[in-house]
Symmetry: D3
Amino acid sequence: MATVTLWSDAQVEADPRIKDVFDDIRATRKSDFVNNFWRALANQPAVQERRWASLMEVMFATGALDPLTRELVYIAVSIANGCSYCVHSHTAAARAKGMSDAQYGDLLSVVAMASQTNALATALQVPVDQAFSAS
Amino acid sequence: MATVTLWSDAQVEADPRIKDVFDDIRATRKSDFVNNFWRALANQPAVQERRWASLMEVMFATGALDPLTRELVYIAVSIANGCSYCVHSHTAAARAKGMSDAQYGDLLSVVAMASQTNALATALQVPVDQAFSAS
Amino acid sequence: MATVTLWSDAQVEADPRIKDVFDDIRATRKSDFVNNFWRALANQPAVQERRWASLMEVMFATGALDPLTRELVYIAVSIANGCSYCVHSHTAAARAKGMSDAQYGDLLSVVAMASQTNALATALQVPVDQAFSAS
Amino acid sequence: MATVTLWSDAQVEADPRIKDVFDDIRATRKSDFVNNFWRALANQPAVQERRWASLMEVMFATGALDPLTRELVYIAVSIANGCSYCVHSHTAAARAKGMSDAQYGDLLSVVAMASQTNALATALQVPVDQAFSAS
Amino acid sequence: MATVTLWSDAQVEADPRIKDVFDDIRATRKSDFVNNFWRALANQPAVQERRWASLMEVMFATGALDPLTRELVYIAVSIANGCSYCVHSHTAAARAKGMSDAQYGDLLSVVAMASQTNALATALQVPVDQAFSAS
Amino acid sequence: MATVTLWSDAQVEADPRIKDVFDDIRATRKSDFVNNFWRALANQPAVQERRWASLMEVMFATGALDPLTRELVYIAVSIANGCSYCVHSHTAAARAKGMSDAQYGDLLSVVAMASQTNALATALQVPVDQAFSAS
């Protein structure tokens, strides 16, 4: 199910604006497979273009964090936000970028630990220590 | 404010069970400073002992992810869960473990990007691609 | 799947209390279709009655915000809360009340933007400006 | 408190890249006041530039939804995400754009109603009706 | 800070509609103290009346769950939603209804455990067992 | 779908470390049925062992809250966190521990009420009353 239709390759071919983004996705990822997120966003070309441009900038550009670390952070956010699609797609992406089973186990342990202490700190309404403030 | 009292060093000294955990925290972190989270949890010795034992295992042990990466994941979860205390304490911890301004900028960019695509995937209720499923 | 059984029309007919609410839903919406939410809530007549009464008051009554704006706000909350059922049902409701594709695109853009700046403001723990406080 | 320092006007003046964004914010809003969000983001010029560019595009451009409706959606998301700063700043922004007390009351009612039915639909794990799916 | 003004007792006295609700709160709780939540909601009399009526029905009426259990559930939801005000007020309410330190410790343990397994089940995207479905 | 494979009984039998946990689960619950959560976690033996040990300690041990109350709190957290799997499994567990339809109705009412007032308190950014603070 979805709140919008998912664009088939034939529909994408017939719309130059969407086709451009799809061509770019395929070239950037060096793969013919384009996942449902982009097929759903195709209904909103302006949103789609902005999203793909940002994603390239944030996830594919060279930066201070390596690509796998960025995926781990992405998965962590997606779990905490309960986004089923994003957990699936970025866990697959992390594996494609070399995440080992041991690294995945560590990720799960840290996410579980953080979820737990988040709940406890919120439950106790612990006041922030002055030492942790930068301003 | 808090839902419990925060234990002073004098109170900690007077209770052997709590004192043991505080001694261990100070020794492990090689610092005299013990933050409010532990001073709040001191009201519940059993919860405190379990939490500290797990934290040592997950955050201080050698693992497949290096200590800074674990802190970045921890911060990401804490932001998504909206835990003010945890964001403050683990951002400070990440800096203590060497997080640079550029790395922090990357972290913020990925968290912001993930929050945005999480919202869009949820808004569109995008069905998970078969390719992303491991089972 | 569900944690309760979904009431069929035959079951509804046989229970006067539930039948009354279903009759009212059909009359108010001028449609025979009653969605699964009400078929699930039928297991708890008191909760169902209170929910339907409030919904009529908040979503169908004349107010300061027009019906479509109320649906847009409803969708926004449902996305942020990650409620799959509610996103689906209220996106359909918004369309039934005239939401255009362009309006839906704007909604998605604002929700995505807000999700992102929410994450950044929480990440940076920005203190609230005095100018924003009403008290 | 905050995880970063908040830039004073003097610091902003001394950094051309940040000064450009601040000048643009002041010109766009026709006001000298620049709120803490931008003073915190100033520590990360690249993140700040991208954020301000997107915000202008999404919140200030002409679109299918009027500016006040966009602010109401923004507030709704911020409440559901529990972002204290964003709730404060966008409630103030909505008032500046003409939100009446009656409209605010309606907004609160819809957000409260949605939060409640979100919880019930999730509690009962209601399956999505086929009629609500677009694909 | 707040997005609305908090009504003083003098302001309440001068407005019969609000005064009625405050009188009822004081009589029901057998206490003169009226907390800030109601002083903030006083700006929206219709929302306030509906909220107080529902709260009386759900939290003060005789039901299948005893009053303390209802408060524990209330605290649990408030922690998971990250509502600082609600965590504070309902932890105080639970104590007023007899919550012992040992019960509070158990509550914290269950909330922490649930937060952790919630994260893991979401991370792994575990499919629901057929045995758990009621329909 | 899932991000990992679900272990069959044959796979479990072949791995002594996982078999030990499964044997313990079956013995503790006095049932042959082992649900998908543990079949998914089997991919990470260290995480699995820690999780089962904690669960036993928190959910099966004698404590200040009775087993059904702990399940109600667990369900409440899982609803607020939007964990579909956990809502299903712990609603089933609560029923197995004797939760009546009337108790379930009360639980739903309190969770719905709390979700609503959480949203309102966050929307209004109500300052915490001094009377609610323990420190």
